[in-house]
């Protein structure tokens, strides 16, 4: 990734986190430091939680949407930002110059974007535990996909390896549509578990009373099957765009190449520097696609920020009954 991208994403991240800090201070007041600190430790630990995916392979939680729904978007964004920053600085895990877009992709976008999606589905779903849990799953899945879209768009502006944007986009989003299923199932069931014991701690469900929370249980299997169906529908839609992209295996190899370049930050001379060599197939189409989905992600994040600023409910989650 180019120096320009690193600086620009760094500035956006810094601005958002500063705003989130102010908002979180209002929400939790003097409780902020101990509660955000210890939940940051929780997210750090939760990222070590390996869960089964299939036939002995495991995935792990990213936790951006989960943190936002449990703690509110601002506190959630701060908590995940701290985890990302400390991992980079104190555990030599993740590049130092990549901090800007790591914070943006792993904390700001999943927390605010995921929270916006959560609130959107809460509107449509029944006001029950089942409704909340399903909304959490969809929000967690979307948060992972939004991160991958954001990464692809940053790639468009600051790529250093000669791999075309549309390949990057379809490979990244394609893989993350699948990765997101695990994130969705674990986040949803984890929130379900918290709702079962301390419903007052779930910021995103603080508008529900005990009676509304008391009914319905969500069955794991139903949930997994439903999630896979949703993912398949999306995958089908995306693959419609991807017909002239290379085959699956090549796509995976590209995906892996991309991950490698994520730890790399060179100075790319100009905006579309590598495009001449990359030989992009249909520039206007992929730019249009990038524009549309990029706008969607930005709108979700903006909606999440708006909700965070406007949100008067659950000002102190521990105080409500």
């Amino acid at each position: 990734m180019s120096a320009g991208t690193a600086v620009a994403t760094g500035a956006v991240s810094m601005g958002t986190v500063t705003m989130a800090l102010r908002q979180a201070k209002y929400q939790l007041q003097d409780k902020l430091v101990p509660l955000a600190g210890i939940t940051a430790a929780f997210i750090f630990a939760a990222q070590m939680f390996n869960f089964p995916v299939a036939a002995g392979t495991t995935g792990h939680l990213l936790g951006g949407a989960l943190a936002a729904i449990l703690l509110g978007p601002s506190v959630g964004a701060i908590v995940v930002t701290i985890v990302v920053v400390i991992q980079a600085l104190a555990f030599a895990d993740g590049g130092l110059t990549a901090l800007g877009y790591n914070v943006l992709n792993m904390a700001v976008i999943p927390a605010y974007g995921g929270y916006a999606v959560f609130r959107l589905f809460r509107r449509w779903f029944p006001r029950t535990t089942g409704g909340v849990v399903s909304a959490v799953g969809l929000a967690a899945w979307s948060s992972v996909v939004m991160s991958s879209v954001a990464f692809s768009i940053e790639w468009l502006f600051g790529a250093t390896a000669p791999v075309a944007f549309d390949d990057v986009l379809f490979a990244m989003v394609g893989i993350h549509i699948l990765i997101g299923i695990g994130e969705a199932v674990i986040s949803a069931l984890a929130v379900g578990a918290v709702l079962a014991s301390r419903p007052d701690l779930v910021h995103g469900a603080s508008d529900l009373d005990r009676r509304q929370l008391a009914d319905t249980k969500v069955r794991t299997r139903t949930f997994v099957i439903g999630g896979i169906l949703v993912a398949l529908v999306f995958a089908a839609v995306v693959s419609q765009f991807a017909v002239d992209s290379p085959d699956g295996l090549g796509r995976v190899a590209e995906d892996t190449g991309i991950i490698a370049s994520a730890s790399d930050h060179a100075l790319s001379s100009s905006l579309f520097a590598d495009y001449a060599t990359a030989g992009i197939a249909n520039e206007s189409l992929s730019l249009a696609v990038a524009g549309v989905i990029g706008t969607l992600v930005a709108l979700s994040v903006a909606a999440g920020i708006l909700l965070a600023v406007r949100d008067k409910r659950g000002r102190d989650p521990a105080m409500s009954p």
Binding site: A41, A55, L89, G257, A260, A266
Partner: protein, 254 residues
Amino acid sequence: MGAGHSHALYVHEHSPIHRLAPEAKIVAALGIVASIAVTPRQAVWGFGLYAILVAGLVTLSRLSPGFVALRLVAIAPFVFFALFIPFIAGGETTEVGGVSLSVDGLWGMWNVLAKATLGASVSIVLTATTEIPDIIRGMGVLRVPALFISIATFMVRYLELIVDELGRMRVAMSSRGYDPRWMSQARPVASAAGALFVRSYERGERIHAAMLSRGFNGAMPTFNHQRADAREWAAVFVVIACAALISALALLAA
């Protein structure tokens, strides 16, 4: 917290770099990494000079080269994928041992390998010579917002405790025969994550109550630690100047 003060990544030593104030070390690390990042990939000699600079820092901090190499293995999974770039990238190709590879892709691979290795080595020197609370304190000196610093300090203070709690949950689950292989068996993992959140949050509430009873008024107390003095900043300036000189020469040559 009787035991376990030292962190796995920290190496106890008494070197000039260990003694350097943390804020100075962070600035130096960021300066070197930024210089490496902007160096054009064609300047192979530049990366050689960086390697000498980093090797000098490793020697000065009395870390064994074997230790740094072992830590570098941690980035191997990322670097491994760089090996694919020459096969998938476009542009003109060249024949290497009968296989057609993208010239641009080969440069891309070199770019990733060289910069990731050097950048990670710098991070390793920083974390091996500075304890985590000191790194966070250094960030505070560098004007990172105090609220952010307080929360980060808290996280690090309770991290091992929460991770241990997670470990105990895992032991409890496996000793009851839980060995999931499919996603549909994931529910207990998720419930454990939920339970861990509730336990962490409630611990946070107890800590807050304990803090209030000891006169906490919303701001964390600050202590006077030794700040970096002019001599230390001068040393940092020399190191960054070296790195910046290499990148400037490489940019001019390109």
